[in-house]
C-alpha cells in the first residue's frame, strides 16, 4: 500500500463568506458549519469559535481534536465506516490542511474533558496550541443521554473536519510525503538484511466514553489484527474517548501517529518496518489475556525482531501494556514500550499499576500528576465552570482571578503515550 500525503500549510484562520484556503489562510463560513452541525436533531445549539496560537484563549472542556483532510485519489473516503462507506483506506492520495484542526467541546459528563491553552505556560504542554483551531462548542437538547451526546459530538467533529477538508481537494500541496508498505512477503524481501520491526498499537476500549473505533467498529470487540501503517495515517482509527485528557489519543493523534512517522523515517535504513498490530484495552482480565496472547502470536507469526508498544490511558491499561511486553519478549522479540506516569504530585509514588523486569526499555511521556498554574485568559471557549471536575483538577482549582491550579493531566495531550511530545520524566 502506498499513500501520498499532500500537506497544504495553514498559517492562519478567519471567518469568511466562503470556506476556502487562500494564501495559507483558512477561511471558515460560520453559517454553513453551524447548519451542518445542527442537522443532527440531538444538538440544540453550536457556537463556532476560532483559536490561534498565541491568543489569550482557553478552550475547555475539549473532547476531540481532528485534522481536516480529503481523499483525492485511491480507495475510500475520510473516516471510513463512520461517516463514509467502509472501504479500505491507506492508498492513493490524501490532502491535509496542515496546521489546522477542528476541536469539539462540550460537557459530556461532568468531568474528564481537557484544557487547551493557546498561550502561556499551559501551551507548552499541548501540541494543539500550535494549531489554527476551529472550535465547536456543542450544546445538546434537554435530557439527552450521555452516550447519545458523546455520539452526536463525535459525529459533529468528524463531519466538520470532512467538510472543511474538502476545500483542499483541488489545491496544490506545499509538500508531498510518500509512505509505502508492501504485502508482507514482498516487504520482507525488500530489505532481507535488516531486522523486521512492528508496532503494537494499543487502543483505549474500556467502555462508554472510553472507546476507539476502527473502520467504525468499537475496538472493544476486535481481536488484535494487523494493519498497514498507511491505513491508520488515512483515518481508519478515530477516537470516541473522553477520558484522561493528558493521555488519551485524539483523532488527530491517530491521524498523525508519531511512532508510525518515525518508524517510516528510519525504515529501510535501520530496520524494515513491516506492519502494525492494533489491540485493545478491555476491563476483563480474560480479554487482556486473550488480546496479549494474540499480539505476541501475531508478532511471532510476522517474524518481527523488534516492536514498539504504545499505551493509551493508565491504570488497568498498565496491565495490558505489561502483558503485551512480557509475552512478546518471551517470544524473543525485543520491545520498547511507551507510557506515562502517575507518580503523585511529589513524584514519589509508584508510577505504573503494573511492572515487570522484562520491560527494560521504557519511554515515558511525563508524570501526569505534576501541578501547574494556568494564568487567567482573556477568552474562554466553552466553559470553565467545570474545571474542578476535569480529571486532574481538584476542589478550588479554579481561582477567583480565573487562574487554574491543576495537574497536567487536565491538559489535552500533555503526557501522550504515542510520544507526540518532548515532555518526559527523570529520577532526581
Amino acid at each position: 500500500m502506498k499513500l501520498e500525503i499532500g500537506n497544504i500549510i495553514i498559517k492562519d484562520v478567519k471567518f469568511g463568506i466562503e470556506t476556502k484556503v487562500d494564501n495559507q489562510m483558512l477561511f471558515i463560513n460560520r453559517d454553513e458549519i453551524e447548519a451542518l452541525v445542527l442537522k443532527d436533531d440531538r444538538i440544540k445549539g453550536v457556537s463556532i469559535e476560532l483559536a490561534r496560537p498565541g491568543d489569550s484563549t482557553r478552550i475547555t472542556p475539549v473532547k476531540d481534536v481532528i485534522e481536516p483532510r480529503v481523499k483525492v485519489s485511491g480507495n475510500g473516503a475520510i473516516f471510513p465506516g463512520v461517516i463514509s462507506k467502509v472501504d479500505t483506506v491507506g492508498s492513493g492520495r490524501t490532502h491535509v490542511l496542515k496546521g489546522a484542526a477542528i476541536v469539539t467541546c462540550g460537557k459530556i459528563v461532568g468531568f474528564q474533558e481537557g484544557i487547551i491553552d493557546m498561550s502561556g505556560p499551559g501551551a507548552d504542554y499541548t501540541p494543539f496550541s500550535n494549531l489554527q483551531n476551529v472550535c465547536l462548542v456543542i450544546e445538546p437538547i434537554e435530557g439527552l443521554k450521555q452516550y447519545e451526546y458523546e455520539h452526536a459530538a463525535r459525529m459533529a467533529g468528524l463531519k466538520v473536519a470532512d467538510y472543511v477538508g474538502q476545500v483542499a481537494k483541488d489545491l496544490e500541496p506545499d509538500e508531498v510525503e510518500v509512505f509505502e508498505t508492501k504485502a508482507i512477503q514482498e516487504q520482507v524481501k525488500a530489505y532481507p538484511e535488516l531486522p523486521k520491526v512492528g508496532y503494537i498499537y494499543m487502543l483505549q476500549t474500556q467502555g462508554l466514553l472510553h472507546d476507539t473505533y476502527v473502520y467504525g467498529v468499537d475496538a472493544k470487540q476486535i481481536i488484535p489484527t494487523i494493519m498497514y501503517p498507511t491505513e491508520i495515517m488515512d483515518g481508519a482509527i478515530i477516537s470516541g474517548n473522553c477520558v484522561s485528557a493528558c493521555d488519551k489519543n485524539t483523532t488527530y493523534h491517530h491521524q498523525n501517529n508519531p511512532i508510525i512517522k518515525y518508524l517510516y523515517a528510519r525504515h529501510g535504513k535501520d530496520f524494515n518496518f513491516t506492519g502494525v498490530i492494533i489491540t485493545n484495552e478491555n476491563v476483563y482480565l480474560a480479554d487482556k489475556e486473550r488480546s496479549s496472547n494474540m499480539t505476541a502470536k501475531l508478532s511471532e507469526y510476522f517474524g518481527f525482531d523488534g516492536v514498539i508498544i504504545s499505551q493509551e490511558g493508565f491504570g488497568n491499561p498498565d496491565t495490558d501494556l505489561i502483558m503485551n511486553c512480557k509475552k512478546i519478549e518471551a517470544a524473543n522479540i525485543k520491545t520498547v514500550i511507551v507510557t506515562d506516569e502517575y507518580a503523585g504530585r511529589d513524584g514519589l509514588s509508584q508510577s505504573l499499576a503494573d511492572a515487570d523486569v522484562k520491560a527494560d526499555a521504557v519511554v515515558t511521556g511525563g508524570n501526569a500528576n505534576e501541578v501547574i498554574v494556568l494564568p487567567p485568559m482573556a477568552k474562554i471557549i466553552g466553559t470553565d465552570a467545570y474545571i474542578n471536575k476535569v480529571a486532574g483538577g481538584f476542589d478550588g482549582s479554579l481561582r477567583s482571578d480565573g487562574s487554574i491550579e491543576v495537574e497536567i493531566q487536565a491538559i489535552t495531550g500533555s503526557t501522550n503515550e504515542l510520544g507526540f511530545n518532548k515532555l518526559t520524566t527523570k529520577s532526581i
Binding site: 507548552d124 531486522p195 520491526v197 508519531p258 511512532i259 512517522k261 518515525y262 518508524l263 523515517a265 528510519r266 535501520d270 530496520f271 525482531d305 523488534g306 516492536v307 514498539i308 504504545s310 525485543k334 520498547v336 511507551v338 507510557t339 506516569e341 507518580a343 511529589d346 513524584g347 514519589l348 509508584q350 508510577s351 505504573l352 511492572a355 515487570d356 523486569v357 520491560a359 527494560d360 526499555a361 521504557v362 519511554v363 515515558t364 511521556g365 511525563g366 508524570n367 505534576e370 497536567i408 501522550n416 503515550e417 504515542l418 510520544g419 507526540f420 511530545n421 518532548k422 515532555l423 518526559t424 520524566t425 527523570k426 529520577s427 532526581i428
Partner: protein, 348 residues
C-alpha cells in the same frame, strides 16, 4: 562573603581512635578536621568549614535521639549555610549516623545537607529520599574522588541552583520523578531506543522498573543447639485487643512483644490484626501463625539454644513490600544488637 559550612565526622576520621573509641560523646572543634581539609580545598574559597562536630559511632547509634539533640545544640551558634556529613563509605553505623544527623539538620535548621556513602551502605536506603547522598567507593581510598563531588553539590545547593541531576551531580537518585522537556519527541526516542536494543547497543530506559534486588543469603547457623532464634511475623499476631493498634492492612508500624514467660500463644491472650484473611483460625490458635509452642518444646529439648525474648509483629501483604522496608531495618538492627543468630519469619 564565603558560605559557612559545618562538617560532621566520626571518631575514626577525627583521629581519636577506632572501634575502641566509638563511645565518645559529641564534641565540637573550630575549623576543618581530617576530610574537612579536603572539602575546604575543593570549596576554593567560595565556602569554608567553620566547625567540625565529632561523635563516636556507637554513641550516636545507641543514643540516637540524645546525640542528635546534643549535636544540634552544639552547632546552632555557628549559623551555617550548609551541613556536610561524612563521607561514610561502606561503614554502616557511620552511614546511619551521617544520614540521621544530616536529616535532622535539614529539618530543624532549614539548610541544605549533603552526605556521601557507598551504594550498599544501609544508610542509603534509609535516607536517599530525603537527602542528597553522593555516591562514593566502598572504602576511604575513594576519599580524594568523593570530597570534590560533595563540595560541588553543597555549593550548588547553597546557591539555590535548582536543576540538580543525579547523573551530573553525582548523588544517588532520590527516586523523585520530575518532568522536563527532552530534546526529541517520545516517538523519536522510542525508535532510537529500539534501534539500539536491536543492535545490542546500550540504551537507558526512562523508567527503570521497580525491581526487587537480591540480598545475599545470611550464613547458615553452625550449631543450632547454641543458636538464639527470633520469631517475626507479618501475619499480625498481637496481644488481645491490639494494644499498638497495628493496622489491618499494609501496616505502617510494628509491635514488639515480650514472650519470655509465654509457653504458647493462645486465643485467650493473642489475636490477629490482619484484615486480609478469615481471622477465625488465627484467633482460635495464634500458634498457627507464630509457632511458639513448637519452638518452646525445641528449646526445652535442646534442639535450639534459646528463643529471643521478644517477637515482632506487623501486617504485611505480599507485594506491598515498600511500606515495610523502613521498619524492617529497625527490627533488623534490634535483632542484630541483641545477638540474635537466626530468624523465623512467618507470613500468611
Amino acid at each position: 562573603m564565603a558560605y559557612k559550612v559545618i562538617h560532621y565526622i566520626n571518631q575514626f576520621f577525627a583521629n581519636i581512635g577506632g572501634e575502641e573509641m566509638a563511645h565518645v560523646t559529641p564534641e565540637i572543634r573550630e575549623g576543618a578536621v581530617g576530610p574537612g581539609l579536603g572539602i575546604n580545598k575543593a570549596f576554593k574559597g567560595e565556602a569554608e568549614i567553620v566547625c567540625t562536630v565529632i561523635c563516636g559511632d556507637s554513641y550516636f547509634n545507641e543514643n540516637t535521639e540524645a546525640a542528635t539533640k546534643e549535636i544540634l545544640e552544639l552547632i546552632k551558634p555557628y549559623e551555617a549555610d550548609a551541613f556536610i556529613a561524612g563521607p561514610a563509605f561502606n561503614a554502616g553505623r557511620y552511614g546511619t549516623a551521617c544520614g540521621t544527623i544530616a536529616k535532622a539538620v535539614q529539618e530543624t535548621m532549614h539548610i541544605p545537607a549533603v552526605t556521601g556513602m557507598y551504594i550498599e551502605n544501609p544508610g542509603v536506603d534509609m535516607f536517599k529520599k530525603e537527602l542528597y547522598i553522593v555516591e562514593t567507593s566502598n572504602a576511604a581510598v575513594g576519599m580524594r574522588k568523593a570530597l570534590p563531588k560533595m563540595s560541588a553539590l553543597t555549593l550548588k545547593l547553597m546557591s539555590n541552583e535548582a536543576d540538580l541531576d543525579p547523573t551530573i551531580d553525582g548523588y544517588i537518585p532520590r527516586g523523585i520523578r520530575k518532568n522536563y522537556f527532552a530534546e526529541l519527541t517520545g516517538a523519536e526516542r522510542a525508535v532510537d531506543m529500539l534501534v539500539k536494543k536491536l543492535n545490542d547497543e546500550s540504551y537507558t530506559t526512562e523508567y527503570p522498573m521497580p525491581v526487587f534486588d537480591r540480598i545475599e543469603p545470611g550464613k547458615a547457623i553452625k550449631d543450632l543447639s547454641k543458636a538464639k532464634i527470633a520469631l517475626v511475623t507479618s501475619g499480625g499476631i498481637v496481644p488481645k485487643d491490639n494494644p499498638d493498634r497495628i493496622e489491618s492492612s499494609s501496616a505502617s508500624k510494628y509491635g514488639t512483644y515480650n514472650i519470655e514467660s509465654v509457653l504458647n500463644l493462645t486465643g485467650d491472650n493473642y489475636e490477629t490484626a490482619h484484615g486480609g484473611y478469615d481471622p477465625v483460625y488465627a484467633n482460635d490458635e495464634p500458634d498457627r501463625v507464630v509457632p511458639l509452642d513448637v519452638l518452646r518444646d525445641l528449646e526445652k529439648e535442646g534442639v535450639i539454644g534459646s528463643i529471643h525474648p521478644y517477637f515482632y509483629s506487623t501486617v504485611g501483604n505480599g507485594t506491598a513490600v515498600k511500606s515495610s522496608k523502613e521498619f524492617s531495618l529497625e527490627i533488623a538492627e534490634k535483632l542484630r544488637q541483641d545477638g540474635v543468630d537466626a530468624v523465623i519469619l512467618t507470613s500468611t
